[in-house]
Subunit: 203 residues, 2 copies
């Protein structure tokens, strides 16, 4: 899986060959073919591995309540894990997304990612609404869906035109402050709100 | 250009050959090569043609004021022009976006698209703020950038997981109603706002 990651970053999806993956691993091309019939099958296993890592990563996020959890989810998706290869890796993932309509295996994996992110965002929003941390005048399912769209857009623009994901991260955190976080009566009386409070908390 | 469109829809970007484009046109492969050195060069000309069509299309939008213009821009980007081939075409465009980091010609064209959309959204938002149609407490440049990200995300999810662009369209129009449109004093007194007014206007 590590060799697949490195090979994908180096060669991109379209021109990637089993041989390129073997070259990055301690296994021979023959051994790879013994386990995986095709590049598609190996990459499908790789996407499953990515899904598991991503799920483990977001479920291990430490957050004090739904407001912090929502911000942590946004930051996790929009923060590069590995500066040097992140751009190459994102590009390969976008190539794979463009295979969605042609490859049922990829499609299933891509849908699983989409649903996972959607589900975690929605349950966080619902939790926050129940606890009165978030406003109750929005539809959590629809806003979760909207946020998944924004996160996809940030990744696409990063690859296509070099748009900085940090910019979308800042815009989304501002969106959370202005439109999702509930303003308490005390905040209103003090002429302050959770947005300012969040700003004061940050380093 | 029409032949390139048809061939892209049929074959996608990665496996497209000059021959496939010639097969859809009245020109021979030799004639195509006479005008365009490579597939990249022909596709770059095609992207320029798409840019010009898109610019002409959004500049010809008829709208009564900035609020209507903003909605018309969103609807134009998120409405399929050609139902049957739209999905194939969007897929090919996503493949081309994934080439952004590798191909300087494509990158220039992709950036031009991004800037065009950003500029038209920003000037519409500024116009609306000046006329008091939109709230004055947001940064037009940043919101325009955010909207471009959302529109990119809708297109990516449409291709990757079949997410319906109409859903993002509805969410964005709701976003405009709730967060961008200025609430007038009269609206506040009547317990209504432009959101409801817009709803009443639509069929």
């Amino acid at each position: 899986m590590e060799a697949t990651y490195v090979a994908l970053c180096k060669h991109g999806y379209a021109s990637l060959r089993m041989q390129d993956i073997a070259a990055e691993s301690s296994k021979s091309k023959g051994t790879l073919h013994y386990h995986y019939d095709s590049k598609q099958e190996l990459l499908s296993a790789f996407l499953e591995y990515l899904y598991d890592s991503f799920a483990a990563r977001i479920d291990a996020l430490e957050a004090d309540g739904p407001d912090e959890r929502l911000r942590a989810l946004i930051e996790t998706v929009l923060s590069p894990r590995d500066g040097e290869t992140e751009q190459e890796f994102r590009t390969a993932l976008l190539e794979i997304k463009a295979q969605g309509p042609y490859d049922d295996e990829f499609r299933v994996q891509l849908e699983a990612f989409d649903h996972l992110l959607h589900e975690r965002l929605e349950s966080t929003l619902l939790d926050g609404q129940e606890r009165g941390v978030f406003r109750d005048d929005f539809d959590a399912e629809s806003i979760a869906d909207f946020l998944v769209t924004v996160l996809n857009g940030a990744q696409t623009r990063h690859v296509a035109v070099g748009h900085p994901p940090e910019q979308t991260r800042a815009q989304l955190l501002d969106y959370v402050d202005r439109h999702l976080v509930a303003t308490t009566d005390a905040d209103a009386a003090n002429g302050t709100n959770d947005a300012n409070a969040a700003e004061e908390r940050s380093p």
